[in-house]
C-alpha cells in the first residue's frame, strides 16, 4: 500500500477536478454560441481532471520527497503562523510578531536565547514602525500600545 502512497496527490487533484466539473455544470453551461457562466470553468476543470487521471497512471514516484523530521518542523512553523494570524486580529501586531520571530529563530535558525530574544523584539518593533508608522497600515488595536 505504502508504495502507492504517492498516487495520493493526483487522486486529490482528480477529485477536486471532478467536483469542480459538477459545480460548474450546476452554474449552467449555456451553448457554445452563448456560453453560460459555467462553461469555461467546466472546460478547465475537465482539463484538470484529465491530466490528473493521466498522472494517476504514469507519475514518477521518484518525484515525491520523503517525509522527514524536518517536515514535522515545517508543520510546527505553519501552526505558529496560524496562531500568529489569530492573535494578530485579537491583540495587534507587536506581541504576536515578537513571539513568532522568537519561535522561528529558535526552531529554524537555532539561535541561542541571548541572540533570539533581542532579535525578535527589535525585529517586531522595527516592522511595527515601518508598517504602522511609516506606511500608515491600520493594524488591529495593539494591546501593548493600549490602542
Amino acid at each position: 500500500m505504502s508504495k502507492h502512497l504517492y498516487r495520493l496527490a493526483p487522486l486529490v487533484l482528480l477529485l477536486f477536478g471532478v467536483t469542480a466539473m459538477l459545480q460548474a455544470r450546476d452554474l449552467s453551461l449555456g451553448e457554445l454560441s452563448a456560453p453560460g457562466p459555467g462553461l469555461w470553468p467546466f472546460i478547465v476543470a475537465s482539463l484538470l481532471s484529465l491530466t490528473a487521471l493521466v498522472l494517476l497512471v504514469i507519475d514518477d514516484p521518484a518525484d515525491y520527497e520523503p517525509w522527514t523530521r524536518g517536515t514535522a518542523g515545517i508543520g510546527l512553523g505553519l501552526v505558529s503562523l496560524a496562531v500568529f494570524i489569530v492573535l494578530f486580529e485579537q491583540i495587534g501586531f507587536l506581541v504576536p510578531a515578537t513571539l513568532m520571530l522568537l519561535f522561528w529563530l529558535r526552531l529554524f535558525a537555532r539561535e541561542p536565547w541571548k541572540w533570539a530574544v533581542p532579535l525578535a523584539v527589535i525585529g517586531a518593533v522595527v516592522f511595527h514602525l515601518l508598517f504602522a508608522e511609516g506606511l500608515g497600515v491600520p493594524f488591529p488595536d495593539d494591546i501593548v500600545l493600549g490602542g
Partner: protein, 543 residues
C-alpha cells in the same frame, strides 16, 4: 513617437531622483538576494508586491525589473565561489566558474561575468527598443481569437519548456485557470465557486496567491533543508579580467547576447534555458571541448551574458502584447494590473512613460550593477554568513504584514498561509507552482476572449484557424506539441527523461529557483539529494 523622442522621455523618467533611487534599490536588492541562499527573485518580487501599491506604476516596474536582472548578477557570485547557484540561471556557471575559483581565478571569473552581463543586458535593451514598437503596431490588429491563441501559446510553452514533467505542469496550469474563475463572472455577474463567502466575490487576490505560493512556499521548502552558514575559502583578487581573458571570451559574449535575447522573447524561455543553450553552443564551437568543466572562461562568459540578455528581452512580449513570458514577468504584470495600468499593445501609446522609462532604467541599472559588482564582490560574499533560518523568520513576518497592508484584511493572510502550504506541498511532490501562477494571471484574459470569440463566431471553432494571425500561432503550437511528444517518446525509449533539457535540469542543485518555472531546479535535484540531504550545501563534485 520616434525612438529618439521615446528614449529622451524614457531617460527623463528614469533619471528622476525617485526613480533613480528605486533602480539602485532594485539592483542592490536583486544582487543581495541572488547571493543569499533560500530567497530567489521570484520569492522576493512576490514578497515586495504589496509595496507597489505605494509607488507610481513606472517606479514599481523599475524596482521589480531591477531586482530581476540584479539577481542574475548576484547568483553568479555564489556559483563561482561555492558551486552553489543562488538562482537557477546560474547553475551552468558552476561548471566552469567554480573550477576557475579552485585554480585561484575567482576574480576574473566574476569580473568577466559582470562585464558579459553588462554587455548582454545593454544589447538586449537595444533589441527591445528596435523590436518592441513594430511588434506593438502588429498587435494592435489583434482580435479576441488572437489573444486566445497567444495566451494558450504562453501557457503551453511554459508547461513544455524547462519543466521536468509536461503533464504535471499542464495539470497545474489547469488548476491555475480554474482558480482564476473564482468570483463574479465578468459577463453575467453570477458568483462562481464563492460558497456564499463575501471575501470570494472579487476572486482570489493575485498578490496573496503569489506571495503564498512563491514567498511562503519557497521559504518553507528551503527551511526544510536547513543548513549551516557557508565558509568562503577562495580568495578573490584581480577582479578585472586580463586582456587575454577578454580575447578568449569576446566571441562567447557576443553569441550569448544574441542567443539570450531571442530565447528571452520566447514564452517559457528565460534565464535557465538561455544559459544552458549558450553553454552548449560554446562547448560545441570550442576547438578543444575537453577544457569545458575544467575552468574555461568562455563557459562562464557565454551563459552569464545570455541569462542577463534574456532577462531584459523577456519584457518584449509583456510590454508589446500584454503576455508575460515567464513567472517573474507574470508578477510584474500583476503589479501593473494592481496599479490599474492596462498592459497590452496600446501601452506604448497610452503610457509611453512606462515603456520608455523602464527601458531607460534598465540601461542605467546595468551600469549601476557593473559599478557595484566589480568593487563590492567582497562585501556581498559576507552576506553568505546570514543563516537561512534567520532570513526565513523575517521574510515570513514581512509577508504577513505586507499582505495585510494590501486590503487591510485578515482574510488575505489566511489565503497566503493556505497557498504557502500548497506551494510547499507542490514542491515536495514535484508539481511546479510556476505554471499555476502564470495560468492564474492569464486566466481571465483567456476566458473573456474565448467567450467573446464564441459569441461572435456563433459557437464555431474554425475562426481560430482561419484568421491568419491566430491560425499561424495555433499551427506553431501544433508543431511544438508534435515535436516535443515525438522527442519525448524517443528519449523515453532510450531511457532518458521526457522533457526538453530535463537532463541538464536533473543536474541542478535543489533550492535554486528559476523564473520560468520555479521549482524545476528543486524538483530536478530532489531525486539526487533525497539520499543525502546534506549534499546541497557541501557541493559534491559534479562534472
Amino acid at each position: 513617437m520616434g525612438i529618439a523622442d521615446g528614449l529622451g522621455e524614457g531617460f527623463a523618467v528614469a533619471l528622476d531622483p525617485t526613480n533613480l533611487l528605486y533602480v539602485f534599490l532594485g539592483v542592490l536588492i536583486g544582487t543581495v538576494i541572488g547571493v543569499l541562499p533560500g530567497l530567489g527573485p521570484t520569492a522576493t518580487i512576490a514578497l515586495l508586491l504589496p509595496l507597489t501599491y505605494e509607488l507610481e506604476p513606472v517606479t514599481s516596474v523599475i524596482l521589480l525589473a531591477g531586482i530581476y536582472y540584479g539577481s542574475m548578477y548576484g547568483g553568479t557570485i555564489t556559483s563561482v565561489l561555492l558551486q552553489l547557484p543562488g538562482e537557477a540561471a546560474s547553475v551552468v556557471t558552476t561548471f566552469d566558474g567554480y573550477q576557475m575559483a579552485k585554480q585561484g581565478r575567482a576574480g576574473p571569473a566574476l569580473g568577466i561575468a559582470a562585464v558579459g552581463s553588462f554587455i548582454g543586458g545593454t544589447i538586449a535593451v537595444v533589441g527591445l527598443i528596435l523590436l518592441a514598437p513594430p511588434l506593438a503596431d502588429l498587435a494592435v490588429e489583434f482580435g479576441a481569437p488572437e489573444y486566445v491563441a497567444l495566451t494558450l501559446f504562453g501557457i503551453l510553452l511554459v508547461t513544455y519548456l524547462g519543466t521536468k514533467h509536461p503533464v504535471k505542469a499542464l495539470c497545474m496550469a489547469a488548476l491555475g485557470l480554474l482558480l482564476a474563475t473564482i468570483g463574479q463572472d465578468s459577463i453575467t455577474g453570477t458568483g462562481r465557486f464563492t460558497f456564499d463567502q463575501v471575501e470570494l466575490f472579487d476572486g482570489l487576490d493575485f498578490v496573496a496567491v503569489a506571495m503564498g505560493l512563491f514567498g511562503v512556499g519557497e521559504i518553507l521548502y528551503n527551511l526544510e533543508k536547513t543548513e549551516k552558514a557557508e565558509q568562503i575559502k577562495a580568495r578573490i583578487k584581480n577582479i578585472w579580467p586580463s586582456r587575454r581573458d577578454f580575447r578568449d571570451s569576446s566571441g562567447a559574449i557576443a553569441r550569448g547576447s544574441v542567443l539570450g535575447f531571442f530565447l528571452g522573447v520566447l514564452p517559457g524561455g528565460g534565464g535557465v534555458i538561455s544559459s544552458l543553450a549558450s553553454y552548449g553552443m560554446e562547448k560545441r564551437r570550442a576547438k578543444d571541448p575537453s577544457r569545458f568543466g575544467k575552468g574555461a572562461i568562455e563557459g562562464v562568459a557565454g551563459p552569464e551574458t545570455a541569462n542577463n540578455a534574456s532577462s531584459t528581452s523577456a519584457f518584449v512580449p509583456l510590454l508589446t502584447l500584454g503576455i508575460p513570458p515567464n513567472v517573474v514577468l507574470a508578477l510584474i504584470y500583476g503589479a501593473l494590473l494592481i496599479n490599474g495600468v492596462q498592459v497590452g499593445p496600446q501601452l506604448i501609446d497610452t503610457n509611453p512613460e512606462i515603456f520608455w522609462g523602464v527601458i531607460a532604467s534598465m540601461f542605467i541599472g546595468n551600469l549601476m550593477l557593473l559599478a557595484l559588482n566589480i568593487p563590492l564582490v567582497g562585501v556581498f560574499v559576507q552576506l553568505l554568513r546570514v543563516r537561512g533560518g534567520i532570513l526565513a523568520a523575517f521574510a515570513v513576518l514581512i509577508t504577513m504584514a505586507g499582505v495585510f497592508s494590501v486590503n487591510n484584511d485578515v482574510f488575505d493572510m489566511w489565503v497566503v498561509l493556505a497557498f504557502g502550504v500548497l506551494g510547499w506541498l507542490m514542491k515536495k511532490t514535484g508539481f511546479e507552482p510556476g505554471p499555476l501562477v502564470l495560468a492564474f494571471v492569464l486566466g481571465s484574459i483567456l476566458e473573456t476572449n474565448f467567450r467573446r470569440t464564441m459569441l461572435t463566431s456563433d459557437g464555431g471553432f474554425e475562426v481560430f484557424f482561419t484568421r491568419p494571425l491566430s491560425g499561424t500561432i495555433f499551427a506553431f503550437m501544433a508543431v511544438v506539441i508534435v515535436y516535443s511528444t515525438v522527442m519525448g517518446i524517443r528519449r523515453r525509449r532510450r531511457g532518458r527523461p521526457a522533457a526538453l533539457y530535463a537532463e541538464q535540469l536533473e543536474e541542478m542543485t535543489p533550492g535554486a529557483e528559476d523564473e520560468g518555472a520555479a521549482g524545476v531546479a528543486a524538483s530536478g535535484g530532489a531525486t539526487s539529494s533525497a539520499a543525502d540531504p546534506t549534499d546541497r550545501r557541501t557541493g559534491g563534485d559534479r562534472p
